[in-house]
Amino acid sequence: MFEILEKRILAEGICLMRVAAPRVARAALPGQFVIVRADEGGERIPLTIADYDAQEGSVTIVTQTIGVSTQKICSLNVGESLADFAGPLGQPSEFVRMPIDELRRRRYLFVAGGVGTAPVYPQAKWLSEHGVRCDVIIGAKTRDMLIYTDEMRRVADNLYIATDDGSEGFKGMVTALMKELIEVRGEHYDECVAIGPMIMMKFVTLTARSYSLPTTVSLNALMVDGTGMCGACRVSVGGRTLFTCVDGPEFNGYEVDFDEAMRRQSMYRTQEKSALERHKCNCYGK
């Protein structure tokens, strides 16, 4: 059992939990994820690590309630425990293993969308701690849905915000803001990292590609075990079938077949809807 040390609602339907998981905290690196189960009978849900503190032995996850299982996770409170918390899984971000002087000559652009903002944080934090320059774009529908802005401001050289309705920062899509930064303001980046909804990552990749900007994306494929045992997380990358959980979750965006990935992600959509109707949500009543 893994105790919840802190819980905060970051925006409607998005909740942060700091969880006691000393072994995971000691081993975690940016880019990796955990598999979480709320209770006996719960589904195994992959969540990208949003922060970790080896000293305290804690790992932070940020969950968006999209189905029964994520609602169950978010309905737990401080002092209660998650049944399972396994990780860290997947490959760490590539930069973690790159020679530091080479890294310091590079400049990163992170493009974060929605709940995908959370996993960008440990990456930007790691780079900033290692003296590597990075800018961050956070995109959301509207100001109320923005998360992690304060944290990100501390670790990014520049933080840019884009909202669809213009309630904060740039009005429009993150891709339009990318264009503005690169074309109008003449910013130069060596690497783009996009984490967010699949459709956003697809379009960020297309935009970045038009500037020949190498792009890494973090795929949130459907998973069961998260250790390479089932192949539920199959994804086509550069014409080869890879397993997101062991070969990823980060891949070269240019090579990912996003349309297939989106289709595969929707495999259980009808079943999830009916399950959701059965489940009475009490996440935010407490």
Partner: protein, 462 residues
């Protein structure tokens, strides 16, 4: 004459009823039946069954004890060579092992050794004495990676020798393939597997789930930081293979591991208690002919689909246990032999609408002695289905080998280990499917026990 008695038929659930539920197919013998069947054994001087048993159980001896009505003695005799009789009695391929070499089988039917083993194993579980006395700790610690049969057997033996043993399991539930792969209708989890694990707990074995060795902790950390004197790796062969044909990433194509894991480990067959979905569809094609394929196809049937086996060789080559094939047929599974898929067909929306196959014929025997299938030119045809499940075999997960300093693997990705389980890395032992590639429960159990012995010797010489 003892051998004039016919083999005692075992009671089973009615095929039509069981094809719609997950309860155990075979009820096993009651005491009277078991004693009668046991009386059929000729107690051969040179028992061929013992030689054919991968762990050399003293079969005529335990059967003789049973025939005399002494279950406790029978259980004791089996336990010298096997730790998991209630499990192996249910899942061993007896027809190619003990029963396959029984003298009685030449003229009539072999003694039902598997069913008798199961009877004794179940008797032992039901009559287990109060907590087995824990041996005194000898001051040494051993870590076991994986809670499948090899890990459980190794842990049990070491604990009985006085070692402090901790089993690290990646998943949230203990048992390896016994819980995530083999379905409830063949091997009850609560009644059998959990009870075997409980008995290890009583011996003092500790378990920690949610620990992925190679990620959460490494083998090197177990040895260097966590104070273990040796490590046994029993991590199985969990990596599913796909065919590499067109359409394999369509929605509705699964590995057997995924399908079975959703249903068995995650309990997806009962939406009232499980949040995990499983997609079953209307008509399911399972590709393969082993135990895994039989388990997947019969599971699909139980979940309400029409279910078809597609296998590229003929019935005679089916690697599954004979009993499973027989049960599958009784349950109404359709068998398409000498058939090989070439392409999975898209319904236009990215979902499966059928599978394109070719007819095969058997050619010359290959190195393994099996006649290899050859394509019949121009024999393409389609099978209608909306789900395809690939049960083509599995290989070891590279995670542990790739994160352990100096641990050699062979070309097939299996950890290299000698007969005792010793690997290229001192202090690291391995056994079961991770060494042999996908094999059997009894072999994995045997390997775990041999490794326990070797670990004991290794530590004593430290």
């Amino acid at each position: 004459m003892a051998n004039k008695i016919a083999r005692v038929a075992v009671r089973e659930q009615d095929p039509a009823a069981r094809a719609a539920n997950f309860e155990e197919v075979c009820y096993g013998y009651d005491r009277q039946e078991a004693l009668t069947e046991a009386s059929r054994c000729l107690n051969c001087k040179n028992p061929r069954c013992v030689a054919a048993c991968p762990v050399g159980i003293a079969i005529p001896d335990f059967i003789a004890a049973l025939a005399g009505g002494d279950e406790a003695a029978a259980a004791e005799i089996i336990s010298r060579d096997s730790l998991l009789p209630s499990i192996c009695g249910r899942v061993c391929p007896q027809e190619t092992q003990c029963e396959g070499s029984c003298i009685l089988g030449i003229k009539s039917q072999p003694v039902a050794i598997g069913k008798l083993e199961r009877y004794v194993g179940d008797w032992k579980i039901a009559n287990a004495e109060a907590p087995a006395k824990r041996p005194e700790w000898n001051g040494r610690k051993v870590a076991v990676v994986g809670s499948g049969p090899s890990g459980l057997a190794c842990a049990g033996d070491l604990a009985a020798m006085g070692y402090k043993v901790k089993v690290f399991e990646a998943l949230h539930k203990l048992g390896g393939v016994l819980v995530y792969g083999i379905p409830e209708f063949r091997l009850p989890k609560h009644k059998i597997v959990e009870r075997e694990i409980d008995s290890l707990r009583r011996l003092g074995v500790e378990f920690e789930t949610d620990v992925i060795i190679g990620r959460t902790l490494t083998v090197d950390e177990l040895l260097d930081n966590e104070g273990y004197d040796a490590v046994f790796v029993g991590s199985g062969a969990g990596l599913p293979r796909f065919m590499g044909i067109e359409g394999e990433n369509l929605n509705g194509v699964f590995s057997a591991n995924e399908f079975l894991t959703r249903v068995n480990l995650m309990g997806a067959y009962d939406p009232a208690t499980s949040d995990t979905p499983v997609y079953v569809g209307r008509r399911v094609v399972v590709v393969g002919g082993g135990n895994v394929a039989m388990d997947a196809v019969r599971t699909a049937k139980r979940l309400g689909a029409e279910a078809v086996i597609v296998y590229r060789r003929s019935e005679a080559e089916l690697p599954a246990r004979v009993e499973e094939v027989h049960h599958a047929r009784e349950e109404g599974i359709e068998f398409r032999m000498l058939t090989n898929p070439t392409r999975i067909l898209d319904d236009g929306n990215g979902w499966v609408k059928g599978i394109s196959c070719v007819q095969m014929t058997l050619g010359e025997p290959d190195q393994s002695g099996r006649r290899s299938p050859v394509v019949v030119e121009g024999s393409d045809f389609e099978i209608d289905c909306d789900v395809v499940i690939m049960a083509l075999g599995t290989s070891p997960n590279p995670l542990i080998a790739s994160t352990t300093e100096g641990l050699a693997v062979n070309r097939r990705g299996c950890i290299e280990a000698d007969d005792s389980g010793a690997t290229s890395r001192p202090g690291v032992f391995a056994g079961g499917d991770t060494v042999t590639g996908a094999a059997t429960v009894i072999l994995a159990m045997g390997a775990g026990r041999r490794a326990a012995k070797a670990i004991d010797e290794y530590i004593k010489n430290l």
